[in-house]
């Protein structure tokens, strides 16, 4: 079986290599590995039989070249990491080459004679299992497959970028702080229970005492703009896996909490005892955050300095 990884960076290719390796193991058939790298800074990644390099900074000026490679290689499986550009590119490939696609696969598993691709649906509340069929196109959830290095020196083939009908006018940087909440050990989450931007200072102080970072629900970043988007936790934001997650004034919508389910301990603070967040928490405090958080800060200051 031939497997093709499509990626926009070397690290995506290494994650894809890991997916093909898993696919070999689960299907029990050897996968011959091919890769396409679309990047303005292409690098050589080992472990592939052939590596196609397309020097381009955008899929909108290169997807025709990708389509050509796909029809040349004719792989039985095409994989990419679930970044938005890759999802776009993969669905173009699936449309143009008459293949089916599965988005954001989290698990490749076997049941009897069949291999399945499982992915979260319904905001993460359920898993859907799709039968692996020859020709399938799929993206994998970021971080679910540990990147690996291969030994094989690939045959490198450079292809010119080509696409009709689109012009890329440029890029804009996003406003961001220097935080990486995805790898933080402790995260304090703020939600709409906070009434004003100034009140977030309380959360920052708490995070600072705990040695953690502040994250937030979508409305705080997207609707109010009180925090930068790189602090937004959820299926359309960052996925976190800290030792301790402390959602405060967050109701517990599946699109939010499912991205925090890998946290070791979750402690919720909410004034509504029926808030769904308590179902997803190890410990819950039913209280007005404006009363409880100052008390918690005071207690932590007293106890942690000892």
């Amino acid at each position: 079986m031939k497997g093709l990884v499509i990626g926009l960076s070397g690290s995506e290719l290494r994650e894809g290599l890991s997916v093909l390796e898993t696919l070999s193991n689960v299907t029990g058939s050897n996968v011959e590995k091919y890769a396409v790298l679309v990047s303005s800074n292409p690098e050589k990644v080992k472990g592939f039989h052939k590596l196609y390099l397309i020097k381009s900074g955008s899929i909108y000026t290169s997807f025709q070249s990708v389509l050509k490679i796909v029809s040349e290689v004719a792989p039985e499986a095409i994989v990419a990491v679930n970044m938005k550009d890759c999802v776009d590119l993969m669905s173009r490939v699936a449309a143009s080459t008459d293949r089916y696609m599965v988005t954001e696969v989290a698990l490749i598993t076997r049941n009897g004679d069949d291999v399945y691709l499982a992915r979260p649906i319904l905001g993460g509340r359920a898993l859907a299992y799709y039968k692996f069929t020859k020709g399938i196109v799929f993206t994998v959830a970021k971080g679910k497959f540990q990147p690996i290095e291969g030994d094989e020196e690939p045959e490198v083939i450079e292809i010119a970028p080509e696409a009709d009908g689109y012009e890329v006018l440029g890029v804009e940087e996003k406003k961001r702080g220097a935080v990486d909440i995805e790898s933080a050990d402790i995260v304090v989450g703020v939600g709409r229970g906070f009434k004003a931007k100034e009140d977030l200072a309380m959360a920052s102080e708490l995070a600072q005492i705990l040695g953690g970072e502040v994250g937030c629900s979508r409305p705080i970043a997207a609707d109010f703009g009180w925090l930068d988007e790189d602090r937004w936790i959820g299926i359309s934001g960052k996925k976190i896996r800290p030792k301790l997650y402390l959602p405060i004034g967050i109701s517990g919508a599946p699109q939010h909490i499912m991205a925090a389910n890998d946290s070791k301990i979750i402690v919720a603070v909410n004034k509504d005892k029926n808030a769904p967040i308590f179902n997803y928490s190890d410990y819950g405090v039913v209280a007005d955050l404006y009363q409880f958080i100052p008390a918690l800060i005071k207690v932590l200051k007293e106890r942690l300095k000892k």
Binding site: S58, Y60, K84, D85, V87, D88, S91, R92, A94, A95, D98, Y100, T103, I121, L122, G123, R125, A126, A128, Y129, Y130, G165, Y166, E167, V168, L169, G170, V171, E172, E173, K174, I186, S236, K243, L244, P254, Q255, N261, I265, V267, K273, N279, Y280, S281, D282, Y283, G284, V285, V286, A287, Q291, F292, P294, A295, L296, K298, L300, R303, L304, K306
Partner: protein, 264 residues
């Protein structure tokens, strides 16, 4: 200009039902408008107010059992009309139930062609229930038109469109020509709840139903999940109580130290 908007009646993720064995009870989950499709309708209305024309809502019912779903489905479509759609055309057919995004897109492309074709088609970046993010590009392919995904800002200039694509690490600005399918993100606008008057008016707007045969389709490319499973979350669910905020805080800190997530 006729602006088509895709609106999906999604399973409501806030009302997910399952049984004790971890089976997902799909049929017991009500339908609701797919969140980003509100943004899509709102954007279509904004553009209509700028350049004139009509906002045409199209949809395919993809969850069964069809008979049981009709009321919910109509409510979703009426909501899209209350948000500013002028008329709605929907496909209801047993064969579309859980047939997957490829089938949905093909069916909707035939419907759009039947209605005279479009210069601008707007959909959501991902549907609330399935989050496949596939329909935009499939639909564009079936119609033989351009497509731009994850758009958080768009502007029309005659026959060209300029889109700001919201990617993980930066925003990419892409220009292309009409006709085009655009998928929009939740940041593109802030839809307001429809007023009572808008809701009442929505009931007077045209809503036309079609079968697959009506749009000239017989067989569909169908690929869907073979099995669904509820995700189990096992947390301790302990509520900490106490006579004062301080007492609760102290008990909580004790627990966190016990759990090894805080150091004394």
């Amino acid at each position: 200009m006729n602006i088509f908007v895709l609106v999906k009646a999604s399973l409501d993720v806030n009302l997910v039902r399952g049984d004790a064995e971890g089976n997902l009870l799909k049929d017991a989950i009500p339908l609701a408008i797919s969140e980003y499709d509100r943004n899509a309708v709102y954007e279509a209305v904004r553009i209509k107010n700028e350049v004139g024309g009509k906002v045409i809502v199209v949809s395919a019912l993809t969850w069964g059992p069809i008979q049981k779903r009709m009321r919910d489905f109509e409510n979703v479509i009426r909501e899209a009309l209350a948000l500013g759609g002028d008329e709605a055309h929907v496909i209801v057919d047993e064969k579309l139930v859980e047939a997957g995004p490829k089938a949905t897109s093909l069916a909707l492309s035939k419907l759009i062609e039947k209605l005279g074709g479009a210069d601008l088609i707007i959909c959501g970046e991902a549907s609330m229930d399935m989050m496949a993010s596939q329909v935009a590009n499939y639909l564009a392919h079936s119609l033989g038109v351009n497509s731009v995904t994850y758009v958080r800002e768009l502007s029309l200039d005659g026959n060209t469109i300029k889109c700001k694509r919201d990617l993980e690490n930066y925003v990419e600005i892409v220009k292309t020509g009409l006709p085009v399918v655009v998928s929009v993100t939740g940041e593109i606008n802030k839809p307001r709840l429809p007023t009572l008057l808008q809701i009442r008016r929505a009931f007077a707007k045209p809503l036309q139903k079609y079968s697959l045969a009506d749009v000239g389709l017989d067989i569909l490319p169908s690929y869907s999940a073979n099995k669904y499973e509820l995700v189990k979350v096992s947390r301790k669910n302990i509520i900490i109580e106490g006579a004062s905020m301080e007492e609760i805080a102290n008990k909580l800190v004790d627990k966190l130290i016990e759990e090894g997530v805080l150091e004394r």
